[in-house]
Assembly symmetry: C2
Homo-oligomer: 359 residues x 2
């Protein structure tokens, strides 16, 4: 049963694992991906041919060390990389897909599906749940829904609610998709088309929020893409060309209906609003050790969000570390080469493993 | 001759005036409008039926007191409210319009046209040039191009260059317009259509940058538009409905090709880049009295921009006042009810008038 009151007859979960589950089944780490991420954390993505999205962080000897831990990552409910989502068959009739009739899903729904996957492995308690951005929302949802199933939780560049500005940016993207006539009210597969231009604008808009003003200035400033000076309207500044590339490379790998479903799930996330008594009430019973990481130049889910989460966890008498990493890379810093962040994560996990008796 | 090297055979300027020019022609104030503004500063706009966009600031007894000053405001070159722009006839052939062939224009070009209008009135020296946002860019361009023609200059919520992030947000809007099939590569008039959906997305994107995160939170927070809870995708949060209204009300009054031309003019603005030796070199010879106003929560043209301008003007030995108004309303604060800003502007003009012998 989903939060919206509807039920899905069956749910498929596409996942990847790395490393080996130990005999005690005590070394499992669930990694939760972000809005446009997928299960290919630490290996080449077979659809795009690109490296896994977190190869810097997950692998043998990496901060999330697959020589020690059994890492699980699944495509979220509502996604388009194999898990049940709007592109899944609706019923018995061949070729009939959910499209826009796919039920409204929430971050909590995504986590309920992950819990079933964890149980499928016979794992009673995860060593850790770790995720950035929307993955951080999922880590928080895990801590609220299944506090007894976590030894540690690491929400990174996370938020405990989506602000009016966050919702506004998502709404721009959705309106751009709706405005594309190839969207066909969500039935574009049946028409053999895809709302690529609308989805590209959505991605471009979101991308601006993932990078800091400083990073854009450092990388592009006012550089021209070509040196022709004042040319006609059209591609001209390097930052425009970069954004257009972000848009066009995205539409080949992502599905517009999934984008609508997942952005809506993020908008609906509001841990404080869900609980009478607010955030600290939501975390009552949270027994995990928490590491919260924020990035100083993240203006999408700014440090203030993580600080409020830390305060609420403290109020609930939880065990919390909170690190604001100094970085000018913005929200996306959790995906990038940030040695301070990696060292922080490694140190936290080593400490937790010692404490948990995972030698 | 335009900055791009092309020339327009003739230029029409649509303008409005308020108050009376004195015999010495020494009491004229040029008001420069913002990206989507127009010449209807202090009277009902005949196209929209809405009040003038700066009735709080301009009128009898207002900070810009039309009992004392002769106020001129013209629609910018490239605009769509009567001045020459992409919707103007291209040549002799009836019905042949410029469309996307309209030459690339700059903020400096806009100001050159305004100067001709001022000369048309026989005015040798403006008492002041005043403008917010893109209007502030024009005020700065006036100070750089025609320093001897100004007694005072008031750039409000202004910028001396467009940053990579500023350009990126404009590019989202342009891509949304290009993605609308009704754009017809700019020839939509001939087809009897208008790229309303793309232009609406452009406006929505820009609008987010005009308001602060605090203002969105205060006005909308996570309020739902209706109380149905988790409904299907579509309008749901109040902030979405608000944005959609901003988009749809805009497309009836603005032309997409003008939007493309004017956003590009803003992107091209870079006073420091234009001058060897940077900004203070640009202001060499600036003899006007300057009042710079920024708003604390403006993240589009933040206070740091105005501070840099103030520093460069000081370096050029100009006479500068700089006020950062504490406001949570964001960039658009210059259009809104901000008593501190209005008092600052009034005080500055009163002082200048005394000094100039305008009793």
């Amino acid at each position: 049963m989903l939060d919206c009151g509807r039920a899905l007859p069956s749910v498929t979960v596409a996942y990847r694992t790395y490393g080996t589950l130990n005999a005690a089944k005590s070394n499992a780490i669930m990694i939760c991906h972000a809005l446009t991420g997928d299960q290919y954390v630490a290996e080449q993505n077979p659809e795009t041919g690109r490296p896994g999205w977190w190869e810097r962080v997950v692998g043998p000897g990496a901060p999330i060390d697959t020589d020690k831990y059994f890492v699980i990552c699944s495509n979220v409910l509502g996604g388009c990389m194999g898990s049940t989502g709007p592109r899944s068959p609706r019923g018995e009739a061949p070729g009939e897909l959910w499209g826009r009739d796919f039920p409204v899903i929430t971050i909590h729904d995504m986590v309920r599906v992950q819990k079933r996957l964890v149980e499928h492995f016979g794992i009673r308690k995860l060593f850790a749940v770790i995720g950035g951005s929307m993955g951080g929302m999922q880590a928080l949802s895990w801590a609220v829904q299944y506090p007894e199933m976590l030894y540690a939780a690491v929400p990174i560049a996370a938020a405990y609610y989506h602000s009016a500005q966050n919702i506004a940016f998502h709404e721009i993207g959705r309106q751009a998709i709706f405005a594309d006539p190839a969207f066909c009210n969500g039935h574009y597969w049946a028409q053999g088309v895809r709302p690529e231009r609308g989805l590209a604008v959505a991605r471009m808009t979101a991308h601006i929020t993932y990078v800091s003003e400083e990073a854009l200035t450092r990388k592009f400033g006012r550089k021209l893409q070509n040196a022709e000076g004042l040319s006609a309207l059209g591609e001209q500044f390097a930052v425009e060309s970069y954004l257009q590339y972000q848009g066009s490379s995205f539409v080949t790998r992502f599905d517009a209906n999934s984008y609508l479903s997942i952005t809506r799930a993020m908008d609906l996330f509001d841990l404080a609003g869900d609980h009478e008594g607010g955030l600290s009430q939501a975390f009552r019973g949270a027994s995990a050790r928490f590491l919260l990481v924020s990035f100083s130049s993240d203006w999408l889910f700014p440090t203030a969000q993580s600080r409020t989460i830390a305060r609420a966890l403290n109020h609930a008498a939880a065990n919390v570390s909170f690190v604001e990493v100094q970085s000018d890379k913005g929200h996306d810093a959790f995906l990038l080469d940030e040695p301070d962040f990696h060292a922080t994560l490694r140190g936290f996990l080593v400490g937790c493993a010692e404490h948990a008796g995972l030698a």
